[in-house]
């Protein structure tokens, strides 16, 4: 039978890529160079590498410039080589409109900046030059075959940037004064410009070379997108890692000031349990985490703030989780889906995005007058509980909706009542989702400063002996209300607030703290560790509940 379906055998992609390994190696080399440049520029952006200091005797700008020219040249060469038939690829007829608009826009920007700033052509000059070059790049992208269209504009820009660095047009001392009035002196420096341009060019050329590596066509587009997504994900993880490493690096000296280990070195703790005192001495001593600030202390610490934060989070969770889960049960299982549930849903979403200072004001105006008129741990915890509540409702609802209706049917068919079904089937199945929501919420509220400032915070520099003692604070009386806890009604400090007070208000820069900078970073590190420990507890809980649901 004749196969006349209009499929042109010539236009099909090859089934087996037969390109020689050396040409593929060339493209792979370009991808590698682009990745290296990306990594260097990212580290330079975070000032791990300094632009003005040479590496192994070679100026950084010269190194970057050389690599960029190499990369741009390789990419362009590969594209042109493919067009001339030296390399076997499967290009489409055009690189496409999206790539055309992107390259046109990029070249337009570059040309207008160069014309007006470098050559000083003035308003009219750039107005003529930029559209010509931008349009040229647009047509150079869409008119030729894909192999030229997607490589040459990117390669040329990369090589041009490299030449600019190499010829010292933009050198380490380069500054671009944006020309705002003096009061707002704003200038773009080389420290920022060079890494950013390198980053950008490495992404562009990396995309083009990844396309070349895939031999253009559908496979090439896949490779290009893959590279961009992959580099994006890696750089996000990298940035997070740098942040974490930075805090740890800066915070460790302060945290371990006066650290000692060995029997009898630590402070002595006492817990009163059923009337008997249990006393023990810690076998290690971390003054920063075990002491408050005191005149007689050799080293000062943030113990009151650590306990303030821990009790704050526990209080908020104890308040918000039962209420939130209860509301979610009502909304998913009992309430008829309709206008009412929709309104509640919109309201909870809105509450979750309400700025925290508004919650703080609410606590200040409504809770404090009702709890003795002073800032207190209780009003702080309740305020944060109100902040946590909407997220618990939202995530618990999602988790309960995701529980299959088959379970509810099966339970109903056994004659089990609705409440028992919810308690024994729906809630256990929804628990991992609920826990995830609580973890997310705790991460937010533990670092909240504004509401604490208004509702809870006392003096940031409290002696260690004034650490809030919630467990020991319970007092039992013979008459109603039988139990009371004055510790809950005391003002106390919390880590984010302490950090805020240290940095902005300059509190404690006196003789009490020997090195304020170390003290601040160590506080930040302790806050990070406290929040991460809450995460760890939450993740362990989720793992436990999820395992119970799964076979294995």
């Amino acid at each position: 039978m004749a196969t006349d379906f209009g499929v042109d055998e010539e236009s099909r992609d090859t089934l087996v890529q037969s390109g020689t390994s050396s040409t593929r190696a060339l493209a792979a080399f370009a991808v590698a160079v682009a990745s290296v440049l990306f990594a260097i520029s990212l580290t330079a952006l975070f000032e791990v590498v300094t632009i003005s200091e040479p590496i192994a005797g070679v100026p950084v700008t010269a190194l970057l410039g050389g690599l960029l020219i190499l990369l741009g040249g390789t990419v362009s060469m590969f594209g042109v080589g493919s067009r001339l038939g030296y390399v076997e690829t499967d290009p489409r007829a055009s690189a496409g409109l999206v790539a055309g608009i992107a390259f046109g826009g990029i070249w337009f920007t570059v040309a207008s900046l160069t014309a007006s700033q470098t050559f000083g052509l003035g308003g009219l000059g750039w107005f003529v030059v930029a559209p010509v070059i931008g349009g040229g790049a647009f047509f150079a992208t869409i008119l030729p075959r894909e192999d030229v269209g997607s490589t040459v504009p990117a390669g040329a820009l990369t090589a041009l940037t490299g030449a600019v660095f190499l010829l010292d047009v933009i050198g380490p001392q380069w500054v671009w004064d944006l020309g705002f009035p003096d009061a707002f002196f704003v200038a773009v420096t080389a420290e920022f410009t060079i890494p950013t341009l390198t980053l950008f060019c490495s992404l562009l050329a990396g995309w083009a070379s990844a396309k070349a590596y895939g031999g253009f066509g559908a496979r090439g587009r896949h490779m290009g997108a893959y590279l961009l997504v992959y580099i994006n994900a890696l750089s996000i993880v990298g940035v997070l890692f740098v942040l974490l490493a930075f805090t740890i690096f800066k915070g460790l000296p302060g945290l371990f000031r006066g650290f000692a280990i060995g029997a009898g070195t630590g402070p002595t703790s006492t817990i009163v349990l059923f009337g008997t005192d249990i006393t023990w001495t810690w076998p290690f001593y971390v003054p920063f985490a075990m002491e408050g600030v005191g005149l007689l202390n050799e080293f000062n610490g943030v113990l009151p703030a650590i306990f303030g934060t821990i009790w704050l989070v526990i209080g908020a969770v104890v308040f918000a989780v039962p209420l939130g889960v209860g509301a979610a049960i009502f909304l998913t299982e009992y309430a008829e889906r309709g206008r009412f549930t929709q309104v509640v849903e919109v309201a909870t979403n809105g509450l979750w995005s309400t700025p925290s200072i508004v919650f703080g004001l609410f606590g200040f105006a409504f809770l404090i007058p009702r709890f003795g008129g002073n800032k207190s741990l209780l009003s702080g915890a309740l305020t944060l509980g109100f902040m946590l509540l909407p997220l618990v409702v939202i995530t618990s609802r999602e988790a309960m909706i995701a529980v299959p209706d088959e379970y509810r049917d099966a339970s109903a068919a056994l004659g089990v009542s609705k409440w028992q079904t919810i308690r024994s089937v729906v809630l256990p199945a929804a628990l991992p989702g609920v826990v995830t929501g609580v973890i997310l919420g705790v991460g937010r509220i533990a670092g909240e400063t504004a509401p604490i400032l208004l509702t809870m915070a006392g003096a940031p520099f409290t002696p260690g002996s004034e650490t809030v003692d919630v467990i020991g604070g319970f007092q039992f009386t013979g008459a109603p209300p039988f139990v009371s806890n004055p510790a809950l009604l005391e003002a106390t400090s919390a880590l984010p607030y302490q950090l805020y007070a240290l940095i902005t208000a300059g509190v404690g820069l006196g003789e009490n703290v020997a090195s304020p900078d170390q003290f601040q970073w160590a506080t930040a590190l302790v806050l990070l560790m406290v929040v991460l420990s809450f995460y760890a507890v939450g993740i362990a809980a989720r793992y436990y509940f999820r395992r119970k649901l799964q076979y294995q």
């Binding site: 379970y407 049917d409 068919a413 056994l414 004659g415 089990v416 089937v425 649901l549 799964q550």
Partner: protein, 312 residues
């Protein structure tokens, strides 16, 4: 396929059956039902045993949709009754009426009467817990709870308070662990699953194969001691071997329980049921009688067409 070949095919089929396809009466799948009147006597089924479940003039509406029209039938005890018919004919809806599972669908409205053991279940004061304990249900896709096999089986009795396994009972020594073990073993043996799972009762039920899960669901249904077991296409999601096991099981169960089963598979209905009710499009019960008679010698032309595979 082109239109011409379709026509030729229809003509060939017509030549075989002795019917002629015309514009008014094309022999295609959906319009194969003839315009015959359903007769009252086609659904008169005489049997010797007691009637366990009786429906009288049952109508079900989903909103404006009249899903079941005036269905009256008597289901004898300790036997297998198959409900067959094309998709959307209301057989599952009818089944769900028998233990009031349709109450869970908000738009459903039910008229008429259903009696279980001579007691009307659509009236005020009916205890749904007791009704569903007495009339259990097995669903189309296996739906064990994400709990251990043992907890799946003990779920119903514990929730009904028949087995007290709470912390208080355990502390005061009132928890009857022997009774629990007995119940687990009895139901699993009844569901022909005991030998396969007896060594891993603490494992999660979701780790079982599809057929095992469905037998576990049957065992779970048996754990609350029902009289009637409703099965909604219990084998449609299973492979032939698992299906054969379920069919054997149904046969065994019919010695002690009244089984009502909805199935799409006519061979299955013919193999396992004692009597068969045929529902056809429009939610009508068209014919009801002994399975052998329905399959060999149906009174209704439409039923014959359906059984011989002309439509549906």
């Amino acid at each position: 396929m082109t239109e011409t070949t379709q026509e030729t095919e229809a003509k060939r089929e017509a030549a075989e059956t002795g019917e002629v396809a015309t514009a008014e009466n094309p022999l295609t799948t959906t319009s194969g039902e003839t315009e015959e009147e359903t007769r009252e006597e086609w659904i008169q089924y005489e049997f010797d045993d007691e009637a366990k479940v009786v429906s009288e003039n049952l109508d079900v509406y989903y909103g404006d949709d009249h899903a079941i029209k005036d269905v009256s039938m008597e289901i004898p005890e300790k036997s297998v009754t198959a409900l067959i018919g094309p998709s959307g004919c209301g057989k599952s809806t009818f089944l769900r009426c028998l233990n009031r599972m349709n109450d869970r669908i908000k738009v459903a409205r039910i008229d008429g009467s259903v009696q279980v053991d001579g007691q009307e279940i659509y009236q005020d004061g009916v205890d749904l817990v007791e009704l569903r304990k007495r009339v259990g249900m097995v669903f189309q896709s296996p739906n064990p709870f994400p709990k251990s096999i043992r907890d799946n089986l003990l779920y119903g009795p514990r929730k009904h308070g028949d087995l007290d396994a709470g912390l208080l009972a355990r502390l005061t020594g009132r928890a009857n662990e022997d009774a629990e073990e007995e119940l687990v073993e009895r139901t699993l043996k009844q569901a022909a699953l005991w030998t396969e799972v007896k060594d891993r009762l603490e494992d999660n039920a979701l780790g079982l194969s599809g057929g095992q899960q469905q037998r576990l669901c049957i065992a779970r249904c048996l754990s609350v001691d029902p009289d009637v077991i409703l099965m909604d296409e219990p084998a449609s999601a299973l492979d032939p071997i698992a299906t054969a096991k379920i069919e054997d099981l149904i046969h065994e169960l019919s010695k002690e329980y009244t089984v009502v089963i909805v199935t799409h598979n006519m061979q299955q209905a013919a193999r396992i049921s004692d009597q068969t009710a045929v529902f056809l499009t429009g939610g009508e019960l068209v014919e009801y009688g002994e399975t052998d008679r329905i399959f060999e010698n149906p009174e209704s032309q439409r039923v014959e067409d359906y059984i011989s595979g002309k439509f549906g």
